[in-house]
Symmetry: C2
Subunit: 433 residues, 2 copies
């Protein structure tokens, strides 16, 4: 126990996250247009058909998809089109209320028919269209009912406005209680060496079936920066690894998870290359948007009453830091304790002890381990006495912050989740019927 | 889809489990004695201090422990003593209501002191004692209060009776609503070639923080067969891999999980060796007891209203079959749907698609996949129409049976869990306070 400094016993500082500031507002970068309508997929009559399109020819695009071995039809279509079009796209079709997953070959034909309709309406090759869908697994898209709305929306329903992008954010929602949006402004050099104002902005939906390695979650991040698909892919992978793969709501992973990152180039900024000085600035902006969306998704987890965050420091490497953080926010018992605003730190310790990387346990030295809960150190090689009532009051805040220091190195990582509530169970025990 | 036979579309037969019959009753094999008292660890005043001991010198013993990197003090003590005594033991001390985990070096000293007391009371070396503990993490054992009860129980409170073993099963309980016991009778050859009646019998506790690779679960399996520790270890590993590692209640793994398999040799049966014809009979009996205890633990999961089982066939190998089964019963959304008696098979499909072995996804061919729910085939390469109300009625039975056939090979596997209920959340959001 002598290896734990007296400093860390009394205070564990918040993790230092070095990313640009984010505004939780909807902004549509230049070069894009969007729109959504209610086409009758959702029984509620809500917005359920949306399109994100470019204003002027193909944009560069990179995508990240569910790792499920039973991906939905829209995921299969998007993967094929992304490859065929070498990372260029003109429009993404978004349907909500029906996942079009577990629908076999007939589901694939349904999805292809809608994609062809979209391509024809916009006068482009089918490979320049992509698709996402979210909702109930195992039911077919009502294609018959969707034909006219797709054509009308594509030909006359799209607008290059922040509000239109906001409408698309609403269309994405299933059990979400609110739309999610985040935006970062930055400057990148133009061809004349004068800076150009660039926006990186995203929208996303959660909120059940969310777990590391993607989730039932969809997100579109758009920017008017200029970059090739490969460069976008590098930035997106880095962001997803640090943000969405660290997000867990209920440990389930969906058939439909998709994130697209699109760049229109409409800002007039110089092309960003993966080895540029500008690359890190763009990638950081993408990560900042992704991190904000992931936090918003966690906070709006099904039935959630609090955001649950875990920051891990003192790890030997980033992968171990992130694994420990994920293990903590993914623990049903930690989540239930957070719901009860119960300072039951023993469950955090148990979750720390079971973290794995590629199936191998992360070595933890109990004597060097420090655990903090809402700014109060509760364990430092051994239990640290604390004022239980005072801590319970801090736990009542809208964010329950867990800090863990492993005392083994300099690497850090974060993860986000939410409390486990009776409302989650109630919501998910009667969904399809 | 043509690859799925019409047979499997209409009926998916139950998995064939080839194990000896089990009685869910408490039996104490010859050569053992047991007892338990209320020593004031549990606030409820319930039984919280127990001992399982031999009647006549050391028994052979094998142990399996939590893979947590922050194991509790009793786990550290047991591992050390097992090794020092080369798999022989005279007594196991069991405490409940306090895990003695996350208690640092002081917790280790507490555990050692009680072990020394037990050894002294029985007049044996300390290495011939083992320990288990279960309960709240992070609080110390009230050693002062336990000294007299340990001595008294060890010297005059142990009985060689089924009832005494039953008392120990009650002592193990924390949030369990009922004790768990299972017993198998078999015959093994004696030295005169005449068969000897042998009993393999176990007791166990659940019921939260239960997940593959052990759980907050304790189990003792005792037999009066004759076997060396190495042979017991082989039988125990095989059983644990197929049973307890396939049990999940809430995805959490504890600091304290322990299973001991002890053999007294008091039946007079010939020693079993790992390459004997008799070995499989003993190992099957151990597995049958473990499987029964695991099912009882799942059915008594915290807040559970139904046992949830998944039998997987048609896998390329056992590991993949078991991984798919675990993924299904471990899915929060499947568990919540089971609670709502909701035939939402899309969630089963989603869970099948995310199974991994050593971090690698299990390949699944959607066209060959068949899913059955309580005897009704709901998916066979594509959705299969079914009578929703009739299936909902079947789902109301005390066991929700999920069957999956992967159509890829001949291997099978099972996993057990329970539904996720509001009561689980309520129970676990106010535990320590």
């Amino acid at each position: 126990m002598s290896s734990v400094s007296s400093d860390s016993r009394t205070s564990l500082p918040p993790l230092d996250v070095d990313l640009p500031p984010v505004e939780e507002v909807v902004r549509l970068p230049a070069g894009f247009r969007a729109g959504a309508v209610a086409a009758g997929i959702k029984a509620s009559g809500g917005l359920d058909l949306g399109i994100l399109a470019t204003t002027n020819g193909p944009a560069s695009v990179a995508g990240t998809f569910t790792t499920s071995r039973l991906p939905a039809a829209p995921v299969r279509l998007s993967r094929a089109h992304l490859e065929a079009a070498a990372g260029r796209t003109v429009a993404i079709l978004s349907t909500s209320g029906c996942a079009n997953a577990g629908t076999g070959e007939v589901g694939e034909r349904d999805q292809a028919e809608l994609g062809d309709l979209l391509a024809a309406s916009l006068g482009v090759e089918r490979e320049l269209t992509l698709a996402v869908s979210t909702g109930l697994i195992g039911s077919r898209l009502p294609v018959e009912r969707l034909r006219d709305p797709v054509t009308r929306l594509a030909t006359s329903g799209l607008t290059a406005s922040d509000a239109a992008f906001g409408t698309l954010a609403e269309q994405l929602m299933t059990t979400d209680t609110r739309p999610k949006a985040a935006s970062v402004r930055l400057e990148l050099p133009g061809p004349d060496a004068r800076p150009r104002a660039v926006i990186v902005a995203g929208i996303a939906k959660g909120v059940g079936m969310i777990h590391p390695n993607m989730a039932t979650m969809l997100a579109f991040i758009a920017t008017d920066a200029t970059a090739e698909p490969g460069t976008l892919g590098t930035a997106l992978s880095r962001a997803v690894e640090r943000t969405w793969n660290q997000l867990t709501v209920d440990g389930d992973m969906s058939t439909n998870d998709t994130v697209f990152l699109l760049a229109s180039g409409a800002s007039g900024a110089m092309p960003i290359e993966a080895d540029d000085a500008g690359f890190n600035r763009l990638a950081d902006a993408v990560e900042a948007v992704a991190r904000s969306l992931a936090r918003q998704q966690a906070a709006d987890g099904e039935g959630a009453t609090t955001l649950l965050t875990c920051g891990v420091s003192g790890a030997r490497d980033d992968a171990e830091a992130r694994a420990v953080a994920r293990s903590v926010v993914g623990s049903s018992l930690v989540k239930a304790a957070a719901h009860g605003r119960d300072p039951n730190w023993g469950r955090i310790l148990a979750a720390v002890g079971t973290a794995t990387v590629d199936g191998q346990p992360v070595p933890i030295d109990e004597r060097r381990l420090v655990i903090g809960l809402c700014g109060v150190t509760v364990f430092a090689g051994e239990p640290v006495p604390f004022d239980r009532d005072a801590l319970a009051r801090r736990l009542a805040r809208p964010e329950v912050e867990i800090r863990v220091d492993l005392g083994a190195g300099g690497a850090t990582g974060e993860a986000w989740g939410c409390d486990l509530t009776e409302a989650y169970v109630a919501e998910n025990s009667a969904y399809s019927t």
